[in-house]
Amino acid sequence: GAGVSQSPSNKVTEKGKDVELRCDPISGHTALYWYRQSLGQGLEFLIYFQGNSAPDKSGLPSDRFSAERTGGSVSTLTIQRTQQEDSAVYLCASSLRTGADYEQYFGPGTRLTVT
């Protein structure tokens, strides 16, 4: 019964570099979410995947952010040309289905620091 896993746990990068963050959801979970938590803020929704449907990208803060989910399982969040304001903890969550009846299980997060 592995939970949601994320890698790396910590990432320090220089401004302007690209980074990739990985999420392995719970096996069998069809819904996958990315959130981020900036210092002193709550979790902010970024993007949502459900099965083979088109993802909801409405929370992505800029076109430097993109995400994909391959084979309905692993997801990668990519940030291009990182900026200092991108520094945050990026959290991935998955749920069995979509809807309020289905709990979202969170991974431990990736702490991104842009210097």
């Binding site: 819904a31 979790l43 929704f45 949502y48 929370g59 959290l91 749920s95 809807g99 299980y105 997060g109």
Partner: protein, 112 residues
């Protein structure tokens, strides 16, 4: 424009006493409210929820109260234990949406 607000960044309580964490929201259309608990270096874990059609939900030591007219909810922990020390996030959700809208969290410290 924060739709969910937790105005107390921290709370300190003596072991055995009641902890009360508060949350305010602005959108009267929210259908569900949830509390998540987060330990350092771990992801948030679901604690308890309440539907907007109810005003109270209880689970062991945890009770959530919802006051729709005031757009306010609170989480009561009785009795508080040192292991309850964590950051507590309030979140809200529309029934038609999968998005959780979070507050900024309250750090609870339960002193032995």
């Amino acid at each position: 424009d924060q739709q969910v607000k937790q105005n107390s960044p921290s709370l300190s309580v003596q072991e055995g006493r009641i902890s009360i964490l508060n949350c305010d929201y602005t959108n009267s259309m929210f259908d569900y409210f949830l509390w998540y608990k987060k330990y350092p270096a771990e992801g948030p874990t679901f604690l308890i929820s309440i539907s907007s059609i109810k005003d109270k939900n209880e689970d062991g030591r945890f009770t959530v109260f919802l006051n729709k007219s005031a757009k306010h909810l609170s989480l009561h922990i009785v009795p508080s234990q040192p292991g309850d020390s964590a950051v507590y996030f309030c979140a809200a959700q529309l029934d038609s949406s999968y998005k959780l809208i979070f507050g900024s969290g309250t750090r609870l410290l339960v002193r032995p």
